[in-house]
């Protein structure tokens, strides 16, 4: 979509900057998705479908870190064919998501007012 807005820009440059912008938003996207309990690989696919091309080797350690910070809770589900670790956002995680989204809005307004 952005390609049609800036047709003259070098594709690599654009991709690099978009990736950098999205990298900082992966936490928001993960917290938002995990309002429903989800396991690692399913989260990876959901995020990829939503345009957050995050790698497994980034996401799996990230989930552990968020859990350690008390933003996620986890539970092993052994009912299905293979045991999987399901993560869900905690109350703290919800509060963080709200704070991050509010900041996101502020940043958007600020940038708009600058141009």
């Amino acid at each position: 979509m952005s390609h049609t807005i800036v047709p003259l820009m070098d594709d690599d440059v654009l991709a690099g900057h978009l990736q950098e912008l999205r990298r900082g938003t992966v936490v928001m996207a993960a917290l938002a998705t995990l309002t429903r309990p989800t396991y690692g690989y399913a989260l990876l696919e959901t995020l990829a479908d939503a345009g957050f091309a995050v790698e497994g080797n980034t996401l799996y350690p990230l989930l552990r870190r968020l859990e350690k910070q008390g933003l996620l809770t986890s539970e092993w589900n052994t009912e299905e064919s293979r045991p999987r670790k399901f993560y869900e956002v905690s109350d703290e995680g919800r509060a963080l998501l709200d704070a991050l989204l509010a900041e996101w809005q502020t940043l958007h307004t600020s940038v708009e007012s600058l141009r």
């Binding site: 396991y39 690692g40 690989y41 399913a42 696919e45 790698e55 497994g56 080797n57 980034t58 799996y60 350690p61 552990r64 870190r65 092993w76 293979r82 045991p83 999987r84 670790k85």
Partner: protein, 329 residues
Amino acid sequence: MPATTTSLAERYVHAVTRRLPEEQRADVADELRASIADRVESLLEERPDLDPATAEREAVAELGEPSTLAGAYTGRPRQLLGPEVYPAWERTVRAILLVAVPVSTLAFAVVQVAVGKTFGEVVGSVVWIMLSLVVHIVFWTTLVFVLAERSSADSGVRESLDVDWSPDDLPDAPQRRGSLTDLVAALTFQALLAGLLVWQQVRPPLSLDGADVPVLDPDLWRSWFPVILALLVVEAGFEVVKYRVGGWTRPLAVANVALGALFALPFVYLGWTEQLLNPDAVLAIQQDWAGFSPGTTHAVVALVAVAIWLWDSVDGFVRVHRTQGAPTR
């Protein structure tokens, strides 16, 4: 659980988790196993032509280098020295190298010469010592910084290593300097001259009746040669001063005339009074070249010394004129 025994996935999981703290291992291993199996499943769904082994290989490859993933889990730095510590490391290594290597090497060389080692032995051991010094200094300094960064909780260590930068650390703004090419050329020439003087004595190129004979009269080591060596050091100091004050000035050009005269004087005097050449060396040369005239050679030395002095003196004033005329002043 799927019976995969020591499949690629299992080997990968092991490679990652063995780098993790004991208490995390089992849990991370189970989750990684499930994630890889999930990925294999979806790869096979997306591309039915894939065989399971290839899909597993691809799923594992996507996760990348095991130690990198393990590092992401533990949060341990995946580099020897981080960007935060690097500038202090560079400052320290450079400072130590610049001081320690020349001083120690010079001291070592002086001792070697004093002990009576031959020219070749001295050069060889000096080069070896220099290399060893550089390797040791870089290695030990780096080790200290790596350890300091890894135990970065201790702020005293960080402070002593000058890691936390402050504006007070700024170096002075560069002053207008003279030509570095001139400086290096002059110092090289002076070092060569001093080296030649010592070399013709230590490793005489001539021999008479089987005995080595120095080209220049060895008796002069008790009178004029130390003076000439001292003057070379003074000349080198003059070049450094000239560089630091930003190149040629009128007082420097005047000093250059005086200094040049002092330097030319021993050669003119020794040439004029025919004392410079070693009489044995003259005999040795005349064995191969009967027409060799020590008188003419001495006269040429005296004349060349005067010519160089005149040319160098004029050159000094020409440079002053050029520098002051330059619009960059």
